[in-house]
Symmetry: D2
Subunit: 305 residues, 4 copies
């Protein structure tokens, strides 16, 4: 079920920072039209950490309705502790999503066995598949390969998203789940081609919001054994990823710069109504959005604004 | 209002991991009897990161009722983003607490100005004082002294809790708020004496759960200019802090070992009914609890179990 | 000139911790016989950080004599500051090596422009090529891609060895030197295949001491477009790399465990006379060496002891 | 023997980056005149990491001659591995210094027992006292308190310099050496007063180059029980330390900014002939030196240029 390009979609907001449901519907359509294998709402790129519970749930509902079972909908259930994550997961299941995506506990400092227990308790609490999500740049709690292997063999998880940026670790993950049904995904925008060549079930790139067709092209090229095409598309997308470096870091945090760039690009493409992001993130300014426009055009992305 | 010894109290749980209200009442009484200047529920030591919203709110309500206005009650409103923290703060205010304690946003990577904006939005959303809380070991987002100074001068915050462990930074914080009413606290168990000598308004030591009278003795000795007594008590408490090193780290994460030790000690003292901690933390075993008993006895703490 | 498999060879020692010249000659022969494109003495795996200056120079001389111009000899000139590195480089040049390999300054905290200046001064001080070496796990000073690009365009460096473990950064490095003659190498044991597929001039794997033929097979397979063979060999070598995890980390640091494993394997293969490492590293014990023997045999490495 | 204020003195250089012996003599005189208890050449502030071996040795010789046995001279023997450190130490001993100061091995990743062995081998190789030096910001290898205690009890080391910035760790160090003759020093510029109140044998502040009399005043005030004076001086010196923040970090690394500021201040005071620092560090510009002049004047430091 979990396969292909499944971008962590942004959560479009109105200028008043309410969920912009119409824009989210367009985002989902944009993905499906491009050939995505699923949509993932409430990931890090979905600014999940900045959304209140109601918005989290409503975004899941809207995505489920928009997807209309054409592709599976995954929902992030990102929070610091097991009880909190379980609640989010139960709400997401009630909203109709097909799977939930959870990091290890963070803020606290868990032992590997406590991370394992976290996933076991989560899997017991819902009846939909659980995807484990390793993103140490955000959580500062790496998910050990040994835990991954054990969870895979015991049928606790259905998937694994590796956003560590470590391709040797990605190989270890593939090896750890070998012989099980666990689908392994990379969250990398920058080596999607390599991950697929190594045997990834799919990819979950934030930049896939901006150019879903590009990542789908990589997936198809690798599937067809056409590595040259995959490489060429990947290199184009690496250049496109420079939109995340446009925002002035003397004024913006990394999240504001990267997430702001994705939303600016979706706005420039006409998919979402405004590039607004959640408090307390600051917005890109007009000159920065202009520069992003230039990078998109140079990268072959069609702009409507 | 915010002064003195204000320990981050544990959240007692039943063996079924429900809030043990009777034990929490005893914890609050234990603090007030020892001379605490306030109680802080829902801090890191209150395992806030592992509690669901209902338990967070109920713990605040119970503490408010137990304190019965004899001392102020502070509540932690720890979460990843502004909207989430505002919700917690509004619920805590409704529960009757006297102040809320908030870290910078985490999981995301905010700019200093975004951290500042986070506190400004929070302060606008509630009518009780806001205390800023710097605990980079948990959040991985340090709160810059420049932001602290600006928030203090603009009247956004009423207090600052420094759990960075960096006493030079603590001095910078005192300097940054000089001339304002902001009360500066250290979260350190290990240099409470020095922080008070330097001008801290008070101290917020997790070990204050175990030996509140010890920290009150330090506070009073420093106030009286009796540094020798303060030093002696502090050194005793440093030895007592070794209870956090008893748990076997081959089996337990740091949080499980440290928080487990505080709860074990409160159980051995007869204050709480069981040392249970939240999932997914693993428990100390009988031998470890025995070893903690030994450290407590050697440190002059009265044991009833 | 700089191409192919160029392992960072170990520095064989006698049991008295003097340079074992005969063993070093055999190591060089072993590499050349396997098809290595060069040998790199005095790298991190050459325990350069633990060797005195005389041993550093003598090892270079022995390697130069042993290689006898059949393949180029590179020498690490690893030290904390420019003046120190220049001295090492001049001595290495006098010893006859073909290129020197230098990290950024470390222990100090240099700016990117100071790193650039470091390499420019080094290149002016010798008449042989300079290879820049990025190994942040050892130096804690990453070499920025912007510096790399500038040094490449200005003809300051002839090569770049990336031991960051970050394949997205490796791609950035390839892009940064595009259009220049700079040869880019990965230091990774674990994704040599991918680095070569992406366009690496060669690979510098520490595990290449243990199984040079394996890495040469990867290089040749990639050159022939036979990715399946490259992948299979790489996966075998990933399993072989587990020899670095045999040493008991409760007793040994990472360097002792990894370097000790490489030397133990070379000893088991009969290439070096003893697996001794420099003070203050502790040795693997007999049981650990037995376990390494098992991993080697399972990995298809021919053992003579 | 090792007691009091022992600043890590700068290594004055000529504009051609040769050792400026006359200036170094004046630096030593300046320290002794101010009441220093010793001088420490070749520390981190002595830019040891950037000096070649000959300059290291010659600086030690000059300092020994200048001190003329009025105070002890300590020499840093900072290098990555045991054999290298032993060589430096033997040369320093031959140069006549009274003690050597050594960090754990770095660049490599040693186990605690390997760090211990490093110091034991060093102590066996020289007949002068060894001081252990913990500066994890530079080495990224912390020196564990357990190792310190063991080395102290076994008579391996005569002193310990703690530049970790962690005052709780400093207390642990004092406790670890309790009952031995080991002298414990802090390298902190910012809590010299507190360290002395806690029982430090002395202090080794880089800023002591700029205002040795200030740190001597703190030492004497604490010895006399006059904490108010110690506090006042310390607070003045904290403000003075802002000279290290003047250099533009968009252009200079931290070392260039901090070390450059110390040398600029010594030049402004007329003690050294030029503020030159070693390659590859960039120099402060005229405006920055002017700003440093302002901070010095405001801090009560007498300027002659």
């Amino acid at each position: 079920m979990l396969r292909g390009v499944i971008p962590p979609v942004v959560t479009p907001l109105t200028d008043e920072r309410a969920l912009d449901e119409a824009s989210l519907v367009r985002v989902v359509e944009d993905q499906i039209a491009a050939g995505a294998g699923g949509v993932f709402v409430g990931g890090s790129t979905g600014e999940i950490a900045l959304l209140d519970d109601e918005t989290r749930v409503r975004a899941a509902e809207v995505a489920v309705e928009a997807a209309a079972r054409r592709v599976p909908v995954l929902a992030g259930v990102i929070d610091t502790g097991t009880a909190r994550v379980v609640r989010h997961a139960q709400r997401a299941q009630a909203a109709g999503v097909d799977a939930v995506v959870a990091t290890p506990p963070f803020y606290v400092a868990p032992h590997a066995d406590e991370i394992s227990r976290h996933y076991r308790l989560l899997a017991e609490a819902v009846s939909i598949p659980v995807v484990a999500y390793d993103i140490p740049s955000a959580t500062h709690v790496p998910l050990p390969a040994s835990v991954l292997g054990e969870l895979a063999r015991d049928g606790v998880i259905a998937g694994f998203k590796d956003s560590s940026g470590d391709i040797a670790g990605f190989r270890r993950a593939l090896d750890a789940v070998a012989g099980t049904d666990v689908a392994v995904f990379t969250g990398s925008e920058l080596f999607a081609d390599l991950a697929l060549e190594l045997g990834a079930a799919g990819i979950v790139p934030g930049l896939g919001n901006v150019d879903p067709a590009g990542y789908v092209a990589i997936e198809r090229a690798v599937a067809a054994g056409d590595i040259a095409t995959a490489r060429r598309e990947q290199e184009r997308l690496i250049r496109l990823f420079r939109i995340t470096e446009v925002g002035d870091r003397a004024r913006l945090g990394y999240t504001a710069a990267a997430l702001g760039a994705f939303k600016a690009a979706l706005w420039l493409r006409g998919v979402i109504a405004t590039p607004a992001t959640s408090a307390p993130l600051r917005a890109l300014d007009a000159a920065e959005i202009d520069e992003i426009r230039g990078v998109l055009v140079a990268g072959g992305v069609a702009i409507t604004r």
